[in-house]
Amino acid sequence: MIGIGRVGRLLLIGVPFLWLALFFLLPLLIVVKISVAESVVGIPPYTPLVTRDAAGFKLQATLANFALLASDQLYLRAYLGSLANAALATVLCLLLGYPIAYAIALARGARRQLLLFLVMLPFWTSFLIRVYAWIAILEPNGLLNEFLIGVGLIATPLPLLNNQFSVELGLVYSYLPFMILPLYGSLSTLDESLIEAAADLGARPFRVFLGVILPLTLPGIAAGSLLVLVPAIGEFVIPDLLGGPDTLMIGKVLWDEFFNNRDWPVASAVAVVLVAALAVPILGARKYLDRAQAA
């Protein structure tokens, strides 16, 4: 803005910039630093990066933690498990979310506002509570099993909790609103005359969907997929509360390394690899997101 002056400008930009540099960027660098340290018993529980002895300063960095990640099957399986769980959740959210977003976009006036409000409400309520709510439903003697036994569909309780099924269900349930909102954003700005034109030219409804609607809502699909995939990969609460012994997800591995094994360097190395792995989908989706912002 004109006339605010150099000092004012410096203040407006500088204060939040400095804060983020100090409390977001610098901490990430510290993680990288500690990921090349060795774990020791004591405080701090890792070796310093630079040591000083009679010969002068000495750089003390090791790639042992990363070698451990590469050699121990646990970590590789946890990374791949997270990716597979999150990818499946993304696809399921897309399949479930698209019709819902479409139906909302077709609603009018106050009805549409109400539907949007209902989609956004879970986003404001406690994530922890929403995940926890499923335990009572999925338990061996929980509501769903009791109901199924009650109506005579099954004789013995199904194993619904503490396995892959419950983790996947939890992921889809928790992240569905994150998919619906960007899809709705794309669908609500759709130019209806294009759809009518395609229909007038003789395209069947399914063909209209594939040829016109789907390509035009790609930015929404990309944004929604990113908002589901990325947080789902690093998820901790869902695999911890709904997962079982066979659930391996990297967010939980990092948590356990830190809180249970108290191995800060390995936890840091897990974090560094995770950030690097997440950069791939983020950069991939940016292309579509930039286009969406330009539109």
């Binding site: 803005m1 006339g3 605010i4 002056g5 407006l12 930009i13 204060v15 939040p16 910039f17 983020l20 540099a21 977001f24 960027l25 901490p27 990430l28 510290i30 993680v31 405080i43 479930l96 019709p99 819902i100 479409y102 139906a103 909302i104 609603a107 506002q113 539907l115 409000f117 409400l121 404001w124 309520t125 406690s126 994530f127 922890l128 509570i129 926890y132 709510a133 499923w134 335990i135 009572a136 439903i137 003697n141 509501l143 009791e146 349930y173 569905l176 969907f209 990113l226 990325v230 947080p231 690093g234 901790f236 509360l241 948590w255 830190f258 800060w264 974090a271 995770l274 997440l278 983020i282």
Partner: protein
């Protein structure tokens, strides 16, 4: 597309049933006299009584509220400044890095945000003896990611803001700071209100980051709830969740209603 009314209604009913059934059941069973989920032993407010006697939950709730109010307020100031800078200054040194640092915390997993901040606080404490881990460190952590959410909302609102109003005020002789405070700030007030509320609820809800950066002195409500539900379903937590959901519902409905009213007014004026 030819989606019939029937299909649309079915889709919406099924979708919202999926989203809301667990929450509705949880609220329902908070009034169950029995400790068991599957046994309905009649309506009772017993668990609300037990909850009010639970000192651990009460202390944790107070800690969470204190952190959330402080963090949301800091986040509001930082996020408004950041959103304004990004939207109004198209060129300055480090703008790309700044933009990255504003958006990345929205997608970086909480475990990483938590771990990295803990390492910072830990190092800081051993170098300069400050800060001791607890309420201050959780507040700083929550303010940081809250500010990023606020900045997104402020940027979105500024993008649709009529610059002619500011220019008119400048032409009429108002000083730039006056214009900022009297024209721009009220203009983005819906984003500021919803931004504060969002930062507040995010802080109130956070388990992972707070668990990393806290010390032995401070337990937040999600941490207390988490250690309790790890052992299984607890009717007291159901009661607590119901209270929490009620408060959130009222706040969000109020924010929605305010924004809708504001928009209606604008449409009439415009």
């Amino acid at each position: 597309m030819t989606l019939t009314r029937g299909i649309r209604t079915t889709v919406l009913l099924l979708g919202f049933a999926f989203l809301y059934a667990p929450i509705v059941l949880l609220v329902l069973y908070s009034f169950n006299a029995s400790r068991l989920v599957t046994v309905w032993a009649g309506f009772s407010t017993r668990w609300y009584g037990e909850l009010s006697k639970n000192e651990g939950f009460r202390a944790a709730a107070l800690t969470s509220l204190e952190v959330a109010v402080l963090a949301a307020t800091i986040a509001l100031v930082l996020g408004a400044l950041a959103g304004f800078s990004m939207s109004r200054f198209s060129r300055f040194r480090g703008r790309t890095l700044f933009g990255f640092a504003l958006l990345a915390p929205l997608v970086v997993p909480e475990v990483i945000l938590g771990l990295s901040l803990l390492l910072l606080f830990f190092n800081c404490e051993s170098w300069i003896g400050w800060p001791s881990r607890g309420i201050p460190t959780i507040t700083v952590a929550h303010a940081t990611f809250g500010a990023c959410f606020v900045s997104v909302l402020v940027r979105a609102q500024l993008a649709g803001f009529d610059r002619a109003l500011e220019e008119a005020a400048l032409d009429l002789g108002a000083r730039p700071w006056t214009v900022l405070v009297r024209i721009t700030l009220p203009g983005i007030s819906p984003a500021l209100i919803s931004g504060w509320l969002l930062a507040f609820t995010l802080s109130l809800d956070d388990l992972v980051i707070a668990s990393f950066v806290t010390g032995p002195s401070a337990t937040t409500l999600p941490m207390a709830v988490f250690s309790s539900v790890r052992l299984g379903v607890s009717p007291e937590v159901n009661a607590l969740a119901t209270l929490f959901l009620t408060v959130v519902f009222v706040l969000v409905a109020l924010a929605f209603w305010l924004t809708a009213r504001e928009e209606r007014r604008r449409r009439i004026r415009g």
